[in-house]
Amino acid sequence: MGEFARLNFYCDEHRCINCDGCSVACAEAHELPEYISRRKVITMNEGIENMEYSLSIACMHCTDAPCEQVCPVDCFYIREDGIVLHDKDKCIGCAYCLYACPFGAPQFPLDGAFGTKGVMDKCTMCAGGPEETNSHAERELYGQNRISEGKVPVCAAMCSTKALLVGDSAEISDIYRERILSKGHGVKTQPYGWDVAYGKKM
């Protein structure tokens, strides 16, 4: 990852098969309540021939994040690597960020006797929050901090077809370019077999 890296998600529409491996991995890793969907796979035109397609969607960690701009208590902050995080201790649960977000990423609790909204929760790109890195408090409020350990966010790590890519936007575009360029050029593989026959020194 370069000095000027900006971290992004990208979901390859041809590869996504709506297996929900990403969303289950996310929920499991961060031990989310069942009403919080930090990540969700959306399928359009399900069951209709030639029309069905799926995409995995979470917070897209926008550069010019609308949530950050509209928040009345200024609880959002954008890291140098582009990850958009927020401070749950500042958040007042007004849901204004949900109005602003083009992806429906902000999530609100549904518990409590009268369905109180509580503070907002969203994808952290597995980078935790403002609390001390890898502290118990961070874990409780924001879930795992895999980025601090040099790990790929759990959704992309679990993606069964490698449709969901995450990382420095330059690297993601390299991976995607390679997929496009290799189209129809055959399989890159070592041939079956070896030149030396059985029993001889390899």
Binding site: I17, A27, E34, G47, T161, W194, A197, Y198
Partner: protein
């Protein structure tokens, strides 16, 4: 498959699918059932411009990725494949040399295919004639094509004919024994291939040795026990060679012909005890009969990490034992993948709480039953040990004994070295590099010797036998009706000492076929034939000459011991086409089919089923679950994806019955059973069929039985079992249930006040 060319297993591998130029999928939904493996299909599309054709009664997630989707009526795959063959022969798209050199009785197929014009096929299958022509032209001319199938092709009363015609289609096109080709059956669960290889079947000893006396004697001596002692365990000697009950119909054994149920042939007694180890028997067809069977038992033992819902289903009050079994993460040993390759699995944690590993349970049971020493003797033989080390010595025992599918090379040491060095293998071909050079990942069987590379692509004559090449197996004799069954000249694997075909190698023919002279010492040690040659001299000598120990023969399109010598279309027992039932009736009823009398034509013609049950019923899987769904529904996040049992129903069909999206509906089966499920509008099914997933249990015919769970063990999601309404019907050879082509009736379920 085994009856066509020798082995009943996936011929290539998931990775190899990337080499295909065309992919045709019959009754499989890998995007849902093999999501990780499905990346190879997608890569084949991307890199190879491979065209993916999906033939399925339901528009699946796999179909959503297909280039061409073919909506077929359930149970008519044979008609469709003959339609393809009709066009292939008519247009000269077949591989004549391949058929001449390596296939027996293709002419019989050609004669049958002639009857299946596109118009006839269209009438039977519901597939428009132009679509059949489009698919066939594309598949036959794309270059090498791979043919994929799973339970959608096998779970029919004609399943064993389906799984013969699919290979025949590949043989006609010369797609066998090639990278990017083959018949690739997708195994549905972890280690299914390994379990099958180890003989978790009622008609064979481990390694597909069958139940003949010779096989028993080979195993007795290999296990280090007396044959007479083994024989003495049976009621009388002849029972040793008889096939047992199957998983599909064990309950008939327990019911023992009571109340008009099918009669059994079990030495005058019913089944008294059932011991279930890690099997979701609530995902077996005819759930009401399963319940009846469970209720009839004297004793029921269930070993699972989660509560097996058989315990919830039964009304039996006493002598039901639930044993907590450990998971795969709490033990170690080998597992075999769908492509016949083996991996070592390492223990992650010690068994949690009071749970015990499967082997612990087995050993303790053997001790209590008084044959622990005999049970474990085989593990000590190789090094003449006093005690054994689990699981290494068990792995080595398997390698020592199983010659039929070539497991000789699978020693514990080698398997571990592969798993530990998995990064040193090419991801597509499985070819090793660095210190793993000369071996394919996981040593896909047959792996003939302790130095053999493994065989990534079965029946590939472009490789030497030492590097995994081989012809078809010589399993059905040397000639039939005066025709040579061995391969013709020029079709031997690379570097073979013999140009053409040769028979399977045995003690008597080895010197003549191989052109060698054995020493007196070798003669003393060598076994009777390659399958029972404990010395492995036959395999070693064959490697030197570039020969496969099992011979080099022709695949056969005709199986003269089967009820249908060539695959024939027969309507499902419950068919929506009464006119076609007359034209393509099912088999005569079969007595003593795996010990149970089984109905075919009498069931099919008992009444005109379609009058009362006009809707086709198709069952299948969901991506977040597998099998009976016990462990998946006990996972909060997996259960949350599909918290309720549902039925995919076309809005037009639902509307006619007053069923709204999300309302409850009843599904009635011809067997008089019913389930109450939630309607889910979906265009993935047409108006003539519905789809239901089979992962739910805990409810039975409208009754919630989850209060039967021991405290704290109920899963997050429960529901009706699809198999409560799957129909009667079993394959004529294997007895697999006909769950993929039944009938049903639906109605709106009124909300109870």
């Amino acid at each position: 498959m085994a009856n066509t060319w020798g082995y009943g297993a996936m011929t290539n591998s998931l990775g190899d699918i990337q080499n295909a130029k065309a992919i045709i999928i019959f009754g499989a939904n890998p995007a849902v059932n093999h999501p990780v493996g499905f990346q190879h299909f997608l890569k084949a599309q991307e890199r190879n411009n491979a065209q993916m054709i999906v033939v399925d009664p339901v528009f699946t997630k796999t179909a959503a990725k297909a280039d061409i989707y073919v909506r077929i009526r359930p149970g008519t795959d044979i008609a469709f494949m003959y339609g393809m063959l009709h066009l292939i022969f008519k247009n000269g798209w077949e591989d004549e040399d391949f058929i001449n050199d390596r296939v027996y009785a293709m002419d019989d197929i050609k004669a049958e295919a002639e009857k299946w014009t596109p118009e006839k096929v269209s009438d039977v299958t519901g597939v428009p004639a132009d679509k059949l022509i489009q698919v066939t032209k594309l598949y036959a001319n794309a270059g090498v094509g791979t043919l994929i199938w799973a339970m959608g092709l096998t779970q029919h009363s004609i399943g064993s004919s389906n799984t013969r015609l699919a290979p025949i289609l590949q043989l006609a096109l010369g797609n066998m024994g090639k990278e990017g080709g083959g018949t690739n059956i997708l195994r549905g669960h972890d280690n299914v291939q390994g379990a099958t290889d180890m003989g978790c079947l009622s008609d064979t000893l481990p390694g597909y040795y069958g139940l003949s006396e010779g096989s028993w004697k080979y195993f007795a001596s290999s296990w280090g026990v007396d044959f007479e002692w083994l024989q003495g365990r049976f009621k009388s000697p002849e029972w040793m060679g008889k096939k047992g009950f199957t998983l599909a119909r064990w309950w008939a054994g327990a019911i023992n012909g009571k109340d008009g149920n099918d009669q059994i042939h079990n030495a005058g007694t019913g089944l008294k005890n059932l011991f279930v180890m890690g099997n979701g028997i609530t995902s077996i067809a005819q759930q009401a009969k399963v319940k009846e069977g469970l209720d009839s038992l004297d004793m029921l033992v269930l070993c699972d990490p989660f509560v097996n819902e058989a315990a919830i289903l039964t009304d039996k009050q006493d002598d039901v034992f639930i044993l907590p079994a450990a998971t795969q993460f709490e033990t170690s040993g080998t597992v075999v993948a769908t492509n016949r390759s083996v991996q070592w699995r390492t223990k992650v944690v010690d068994p949690l709480y009071e749970s015990k590993t499967d082997q612990w349970i087995m050993f303790e049971l053997a001790k209590r039953l008084g044959f622990y020493d005999e049970f474990t003797a085989g593990m000590k033989i190789k090094e003449n040990k006093k005690d054994f080390t689990w699981p290494e010595d068990a792995t080595d025992e398997i390698a020592r004994i199983i010659k039929t599918i070539g497991l000789t090379g699978w020693t514990a040491k080698r398997v571990k070295s592969h798993t530990e060095n998995w990064h040193m293998f090419d991801q597509i071909s499985g070819r090793g590099y660095g210190k793993m050079k000369g071996e394919y990942y996981g040593l896909p069987w047959p792996c003939w010797t302790e130095k053999h590379s493994g065989s990534p692509v079965l029946y590939n004559t472009n490789r030497s036998v030492a590097e995994g090449g081989m012809g078809f197996r010589n399993r059905f004799g040397l000639e039939h009706d005066g025709t040579n069954l061995l391969a013709e000249d020029g079709s031997a694997p690379k570097n073979s000492a013999i140009e053409g075909g040769y028979p399977e190698i045995n003690k008597d023919n080895i010197e003549k076929v191989l052109g060698i002279t054995l020493t007196a010492d070798e003669k003393a040690k060598i076994g009777k034939n390659w399958k029972v040659d404990k010395s492995n001299i036959i395999a070693e000598k064959c490697m030197e000459k570039g020969l496969a120990p099992y011979g080099n023969a022709k695949a056969r399109a005709k199986v003269w011991t089967f009820p249908d010598q060539i695959p024939m279309h027969r309507e499902p027992l419950h068919s929506p086409r009464a006119d076609l039932v007359k034209e393509f009736p099912s088999y005569e009823d079969k007595s003593n089919h795996f010990r149970v009398d089984t109905k075919y034509v009498s069931k099919q013609t008992e009444q005109e089923w379609v009058k009362d049950f006009p809707i086709n019923l198709v069952t299948g899987r969901l991506v977040n679950m597998n099998g009976a769904g016990m462990e998946n529904r006990a996972s909060k996040y997996l259960a949350a994806l599909t918290p309720e049992m549902f039925c995919s129903i076309n809005p037009d069909l639902a509307g006619r019955h007053g069923i709204r999206d999300g309302s409850m509906m009843w599904i009635h089966s011809p067997e008089g059973t019913k389930i109450k499920v939630k309607a889910k509008y979906s265009h993935s099914v047409t108006e003539d069929r519905i789809f239901i997933p089979f992962h739910f249990a805990g409810h039975f015919q409208g009754e919630d039985r989850t209060s039967n769970f021991p405290a704290g063990t109920a899963p997050y999601a429960s529901g009706e079992s699809a198999n409560t309404v799957t129909n009667y019907g079993y394959d004529i050879v294997t007895q697999i249930p006909e769950t993929k082509g039944g009938l049903c009736r639906i109605e709106y379920a009124k909300e109870e006040a």
